[in-house]
C-alpha cells in the first residue's frame, strides 16, 4: 500500500524528517508512536500533500507509484485521508456544505455521478448518529466553536463518508474521553478491510487498546528507530521511551 524510502524533509531551514523508512501492507494497521516533537504530525502532513515542506531526498510510493509530484486534492482522490491532529476552523463554510463539496469533488475526479442530495443527507445523518454526533453540528460553520472532542469526531465522520483506502489518524485520541474514544475506535474498526490500511499516530498506548495495530513503530528525531508488533506499545507504556531511544527525553 505505502512505502516511504529514506525520506528527508524540511520546513524552511529546519530538517524534521531525516532518513525515514516505513512500509505498510494492504490491510495493515500500523501505529507510529514517539515523544512530542519527533515529527509525527510532520509525517502526516507530508503524506497528505502539504506544500509547507520541502522533500530533499527519498520517495513515497503509494501502490507502487511516487506521489511526491501530486497535490493534496489529487492524493485525496487516490484514497489518501488525513484525520488532522488540529482540524482547521473555517468560518463561512458550513460543515454540511463542506462534506458535500468534498465528496462530490472526489466523485467528479473519479468520473462518478454527483451525489443525490437526499441520499447524501440520509447517509450523513446515519453516519453521524453512529459516531454519536449532535446533528446541529452539521449546520454550523466548519469546526468553528467545536470542542476538541467534537472536532475529532467530525474528522472521523469525514473519513467514513469519503471512504478512503489509506487513512492517517494523527492523535485522534487526544481530547476524547473514554466513551468517545470507544465510539471513534468502533468507527475506525468498522472500516478495517483487506484493501484498506491505517497509519495510527498516537502518543499513548490507550487508543491501541481499542484499535489493535498489526505493527508498531517508534519515530524519533525524524526517523523510525524501532519497529515491532503490538507488544512494543505495551512495552513503551510501561517503560517509557528512554531506553529505546538511548537517551533521556
Amino acid at each position: 500500500m505505502l512505502e516511504i524510502k529514506n525520506l528527508y524533509a524540511r520546513i524552511g531551514e529546519t530538517e524534521i524528517i531525516r532518513g525515514l523508512d516505513l512500509k505498510i501492507e494492504d490491510g495493515e494497521v500500523a501505529a507510529v508512536m514517539g515523544p512530542n516533537g519527533s515529527g509525527k504530525s510532520t509525517l502526516s502532513y507530508i503524506l497528505a500533500g502539504s506544500k509547507n515542506y520541502k522533500i530533499t531526498k527519498g520517495d513515497i510510493l503509494y501502490n507502487g507509484q511516487s506521489i511526491l509530484g501530486i497535490n493534496a486534492a489529487e492524493r485525496a482522490v487516490l484514497g489518501i485521508f488525513l484525520a488532522f491532529q488540529y482540524p482547521m476552523e473555517i468560518p463561512g463554510v458550513a460543515m454540511m456544505e463542506f462534506l458535500k463539496v468534498g465528496m462530490n469533488a472526489q466523485r467528479k475526479a473519479r468520473k462518478e455521478p454527483a451525489l443525490n442530495v437526499s441520499e447524501f443527507l440520509k447517509h450523513v445523518k446515519a453516519m453521524a448518529a453512529r459516531l454519536e454526533m449532535d446533528m446541529s453540528m452539521l449546520k454550523r460553520p466548519l469546526n468553528v466553536g467545536f470542542s476538541g472532542g467534537e472536532k475529532k469526531r467530525a474528522e472521523i465522520l469525514q473519513m467514513v463518508l469519503l471512504n478512503p483506502k489509506f487513512c492517517v489518524l494523527d492523535e485522534t485520541d487526544s481530547g476524547l474521553d473514554v466513551d468517545a474514544l470507544k465510539t471513534v475506535a468502533e468507527g475506525v474498526n468498522a472500516l478495517r478491510a483487506s484493501d484498506r490500511s491505517f497509519l495510527v499516530i498516537t502518543h499513548y498506548q490507550r487508543l491501541l487498546d481499542y484499535i489493535v495495530p498489526d505493527t508498531v513503530h517508534v519515530l524519533y528525531k525524524g526517523r523510525i528507530i524501532k519497529s515491532g508488533d503490538k507488544s512494543l506499545a505495551s512495552y513503551l507504556e510501561q517503560n517509557g521511551y528512554t531506553d529505546i531511544i538511548g537517551e533521556p527525553i
Binding site: 506544500k51 509547507n52 486534492a73 492524493r75 485525496a76 468560518p91 463554510v93 463539496v101 469533488a105
Partner: protein, 425 residues
Amino acid sequence: MTVSEKVALTQAETEIINNFIALKGKLPQRGLLLETARKAAMDAFYKHGLPSRRMENWHYTDMRTQLICIAPYSSKSGGALAAPLLSRSIVLGLINGQAVIPSHKAGKKMPATPFGALLANGEAELPQDFANDNVIAQLNTALVSDGWKLDFPENTSSDKIIELQNVQNGAQSHVRFPVIIGSNANVMIIERQIGNDEESFISSVSNLDISEGAQVSWIIIRTRGMTSTELNQFNARLGKNVALKLYIINAGSRFLRQEINVNLDGMGADFQLRGINLLSGKTHTDTTMVVRHLAKDTTSTEIIRNVAIDEARGVFQGMIRVAKEAQKTDASMICNSLILSDSAEFDTKPELEIFADDVACGHGATVAEIDRDQLFYLMARGIPEAQARAMLVKAFVGELIEGFDRKEMGEVLHILLDQWLQVHI
C-alpha cells in the same frame, strides 16, 4: 469660456468642457435657475479641474492621471433593459442616459417621474454649491440629462420592489435619482449599474430624503464591463428613527469612484452599510464615505469586504463624524481585505471626528491573504485548489449578503458572487 485659455487642461478635462459647449441648448432644461446651476457647475469644474492626489479627499485616486480620455456621446439606441433580478419587481430603466417609460400597468402606477421631464419643464432641482473637490456634483449637474424621481408616500409598504437600471453600453451619460420617502414607509430599491464591455463614462447621483420611521434597503449592484468609468454619489438624509441599509456590490468597472454621504439627522436613526468589492484586472475602485451623526442616539455600522486579484487596486476612505449634539452615538466601521495576487492592492483610510463626549465609536482594518492551512485542509478532502480558493473567498464575503427580508435577494447575490469566483479565481 474657451479651451485655449488654460494650458494645464488634461485631454479628459478638455473633452468634458467641449462636451458641455457642444451640448448647449440640447440638454433638457427650462428656466434661469437650471441654466444658472449648470453653468455654475461647469465653471467650478473649469476652475478646479479633475481632482488630483494633492486633494486630501482624492489622495489615493488621482483622477487627473486615471482618466485619460472620455467616451464620447453617442446617439445610438444603446441596447435594451435586462430582466429584473427579482420577480414581482418593477424596472425603471435608463438606456444611454434616457429614461425608458414602462409600458405595463404596474409601472405606470409607480410614484416615479423621469427626471428629464422635470428638467424640461423646470420642476427639477439641481444643486447650486460646488465644493472644489466635489467633481461628481459638478459634472452631474452640468451634464445631467435624465434619471428617475421617486416619491414614496407615507406608510408605503414593500410588496413592490423597484429596480433602477442604468444601462450604459459604451458612450457617455449623466443621470440623477432624487428619492423622497415618506414617514413609516418600507421600501426596497435595487440600483443596477450595468452595460457591456464598450468604453463608457457615467455619472450617477442619488439623493434620498427619508422621513421619520421609514425603513429603506438600497442595493447597488455593479457589473458593467471592465472598460467603463463611473462616478457615483449616494447621498441620504435620515430623519428620526429611520433605518437605512445600503448594500454595494462592485464586480465591474475599470474606474469607479463611489461616494457615500449619509446624514443621521433625526434621533434614533440607524445606518447600515455592507460593501463587497470584487476587484480584478487592471482597475481602480474607490469607495469614499462620510457618515455624519447629527442627533442623539444615532447608530451606524459599516462593514466592507474586499477581494483583489490581478493588478486591481481598491481604496476605502471612511469618515465618521459625530457632532456635539449627537450624544450616545454608537458607530463602528470595519474594512477587511483579501489580497490574492502580488500586484493587487487595497488602501484603507478610516477616520473618526468626534465632538460629543458620550459615544462609542470604533474602527478596524485587516489585510490578509488566503490562509494556506485552511486551503490545505480543504484540498486534503479532495477539493481542487481553484475550487478550494473560491470557497475560502466566498466564506470571506458571503456573510455580508445574508439576512435579507426577501430571501431571493440573497440567492441572486450568491449567484453573482459564484459567477465572479468562477471567472476570476
